[in-house]
């Protein structure tokens, strides 16, 4: 099977092209050793199957980020048969910088001028043949969002894989550096190295730290005194050389575009310019951002819960009832019926009912991302964030955390400095994830049936506030030092591609379903067993194992107003998965986990005030195991993972107590 690698700048439409090429035939995993997402897909053509690997979007192929390392390692060591370089046609002058680095690698490249439709709308014209000749590689044009040019691209891919390509280097870095490259290349010949010698030579000269380390670890090279001399000479001039190499690459790009791209004298004023005048306005930008977030949650609630959630609940009830009837009819033993109807249908059913809500939330976040607004959110927030000692991009990882804290923590990778990143990781759990939504919804239904959207918005807002305050404290104490500079592209606003939004939603929702089927199922089973043992006790009673654990923990939560063993057990199971909180409450309060019975049970066990303090607790306390594991992986430290577990609990508890005690003083109940 042939392998095709996709590389390109962020916002070049790479993902859209990947989706257009592979359709639904995709698989998302992780690159070994790092947390960068690995997307693979397949397509068939003329009876052959082609494997497409979507590499992370990068501006460069240096050693500054994990994304870049993953991309260049796959290109050089993953043996792709061809590398597809996706280029934003409207921004070709910058995008070709990455291309120039691909051309240095000595691999087969096809340049795809994507978004050619947008370029045409902007009156930018291309001499495709000249472009291809100047670059020395085939050039294909596509409009991936409209699926135009895909067939031609596939045909070109097949041609290139089967054919030969002249891979002679075409960029000159000036006499001096060219000579040095030759010298180093010669000295490298015959040595066993993981990368092509010429590429290593270039990277050594431009001061790529990773390649320098690699070379110094190589015994054959470190014992070669001639090589050592050349290397130390190179090291002395790294800053000048780096600038020179960058300049030469851009010069090459200019040479190419000068004869192949014609831009109109006066750039066409785009919709983006007009929209940005308002959306990132000095004074209106922030209120508009808050309004957008508010509408997002209102909409999630209205469509996901009120409209679709009710239908889903009815469906679960009907299916559950049918299964029960079936089990009774085939004379199953009573404990099986109890386990299935109470444990499984009750537990998993409570979660299934909230799927529409999660679907809607992910779609809306996907639309924000795909439309280009997410970058504006980071831009708008940078000003405030900086005053708190945080980086504006932190806010993007926070918004992603609204869906799930696992990708939220992973999204902090765009932050380059360790300080910014550590803070962003540690405050992410305060961002209320989709699973916690289930908990609020039950309590809202019980106590605030008419103010759902507003309460939700407030909860999320408290989460953000706590995250920012904690972030500020961290930046003053644990992680001192300057926040790194803000550099970020603000891509043009684009109509979200439905396929991308759906794809992204499905990747997340299917993860949720998988969790419901595995982790949550296991948790539910264990909880159910603990709730009915030891034999003879009243199931779900205080005497059961579960009840005893709850009774043991419960006193801690007394000052917060919910010192019952049931609430304690609910919070306890929430550390396994937040979805399990509702399930557990359902089991211990109602014997079955669903709908109205649970809600009336909760109305009996909580008060409006304790429901609020409980919601605040669930919002802020220890994240689920999956998030803790991700924090461990991302920080590469068990210590920080444990820290994250403990300090979030302390903050959740403190805030819940604060809410309850203040509320009581003010006369609420």
């Amino acid at each position: 099977m042939n392998t095709i690698a996709l590389v390109g700048n962020p916002n070049s439409g790479k993902t859209t092209l990947f989706n257009a090429l592979t359709g639904s035939n995709q698989h998302v995993g992780n690159w070994p050793g790092v947390t960068v997402e690995k997307k693979e897909g397949k397509f068939k053509f003329n009876g052959n199957t082609y494997n497409v690997v979507d590499l992370p979007g990068t501006y460069s192929l240096g050693a500054f980020s994990e994304d870049e390392m993953v991309a260049r390692d796959f290109i050089l060591k993953g043996n792709p048969d061809v590398v597809i370089n996706v280029v934003d046609a409207t921004n070709i002058e910058r995008n070709l910088y990455l291309t120039s680095q691909l051309l240095e690698m000595g691999v087969k490249v096809i340049v795809v001028l994507n978004m050619i439709d947008e370029a045409e709308a902007k009156n930018i014209q291309f001499g495709i043949k000249t472009l291809s000749k100047k670059l020395g590689v085939p050039v294909v044009t596509t409009a991936a969002s409209k699926r135009k040019g895909i067939k031609e691209l596939i045909e070109e891919i097949v041609r290139v894989i089967d054919g030969e390509m002249d891979l002679k280097p075409s960029i000159s870095y000036g006499d001096k550096i060219d000579r040095e490259i030759k010298t180093i290349k010669k000295l490298l010949s015959g040595k066993t190295l993981e990368y092509p010698p010429r590429w290593i030579a270039i990277k050594l000269i431009e001061g790529d730290q990773y390649v320098h380390d690699l070379v110094s670890e190589n015994k054959a090279l470190s014992s070669d005194s001639e090589f050592g001399d050349v290397l130390s000479a190179v090291k002395e001039n790294i800053e000048d050389n780096e600038l020179e190499i960058v300049n030469r690459r851009y010069e090459f790009v200019n040479d190419v575009t000068r004869v192949s791209v014609v831009r109109p004298e006066e750039a066409v004023k785009t919709v983006t310019d007009k929209v940005d005048k308002i959306l990132i306005h000095k004074y209106f930008g922030l209120p508009i951002f808050i309004l957008i977030m508010f509408v997002l949650f209102q909409l999630t609630f209205a469509v996901g819960e009120d409209l679709l959630g009710g239908l889903m609940a009815a469906a679960v009830d009907a299916v559950g009832h049918a299964i029960e009837v079936f089990l009774v009819n085939i004379n199953s033993p009573a404990w099986i019926i109890a386990f299935v109807s109470e444990g499984i249908i009750g537990g998993i059913g409570a979660i299934i009912e909230f799927i529409p809500l999660i679907v809607v939330l992910y779609m809306l976040i996907g639309i924000l991302e795909d439309s280009g607004y997410m970058a504006r959110a980071a831009y708008i927030m940078d000003n405030i964030m900086r005053k708190l000692g945080l980086h504006g991009k932190t806010f993007i990882s926070m918004i992603v955390g609204f869906g799930c804290n696992v990708p939220g923590v992973m999204a902090t990778r765009t932050l380059e400095s360790k300080k910014d990143r550590m803070i962003a990781i540690l405050i992410n759990p305060f961002m209320s994830c989709g699973a916690k939504l289930l908990i609020y919804l039950v309590f809202i239904a019980a106590f605030f049936p008419n103010g759902g959207g507003l309460i939700l918005f407030l909860i999320y807002f408290i989460g953000i506030l706590v995250a920012l305050l904690v972030g500020k404290i961290f930046s003053r104490t644990l992680f001192k030092g300057e926040t790194t500079d803000f550099i970020m592209e603000l891509p043009p606003y684009r109509k979200p591609v439905l396929r991308n939004v759906l794809r992204n939603m499905w990747d997340n929702v299917s993860g949720f379903l998988k969790r419901a089927g595995t982790v949550i199922f296991a948790v539910v089973t264990v909880l159910w067993i603990m709730a009915v043992l030891p034999a003879g006790v009243e199931p779900y009673g205080a005497e059961s194992i579960l009840g005893r654990i709850g009774l043991f923990i419960a006193p801690i939560f007394k000052p917060a107003g919910f010192g019952t063993w049931q609430a304690a057990v609910g919070l306890f199971s929430g550390i396994a998965a937040k979805e399990a909180v509702v399930t557990t409450l359902g089991m211990v309060y109602a014997g079955v986990g669903e709908g109205t019975e649970l809600i009336s049970a909760i109305q009996g066990a909580f008060t409006p005030l304790t429901s609020v303090s409980f919601m605040v607790m669930t919002l802020l306390y220890t994240p689920c195991v999956a998030t803790i594991a991700t924090i461990k992986k991302e920080t590469n430290s068990v210590k920080w993972a444990i820290f994250a577990m403990v300090y979030t609990f302390a903050i959740g508890w403190t805030m819940a107590v604060l809410v309850f005690q203040t509320g009581r003083l003010l006369g609420f109940s």
Partner: protein, 75 residues
């Protein structure tokens, strides 16, 4: 005449002359299109990062970093 990027007003054009930032930040800027000799236009310069248009594409640069970008008159 040499100016700092922060001194330009929205609508004013300039050309990147030199970047005095640390190696890493300078490198990022080059890769995002701020290579020496590139013409640009300032789109927004009030509060928060400065937005610059390079070939019609917007890049936001924090004020601290923008002060390390030395610019002069465009071609």
């Amino acid at each position: 005449m040499n100016l700092l990027l922060t001194q330009l007003k929205p609508g004013e054009k300039g050309k990147v002359k030199q970047i005095d930032a640390c190696r890493r930040a300078a490198r990022r800027l080059y890769e995002m299109g701020f290579n020496i000799g590139t013409n640009f236009e300032v789109v927004k310069n009030d509060i928060g990062p400065i937005i610059v248009s390079l070939f019609g594409h917007k890049v936001a640069v924090g004020r601290g970093l923008a002060q390390k970008i030395i610019v002069n008159q465009p071609d």
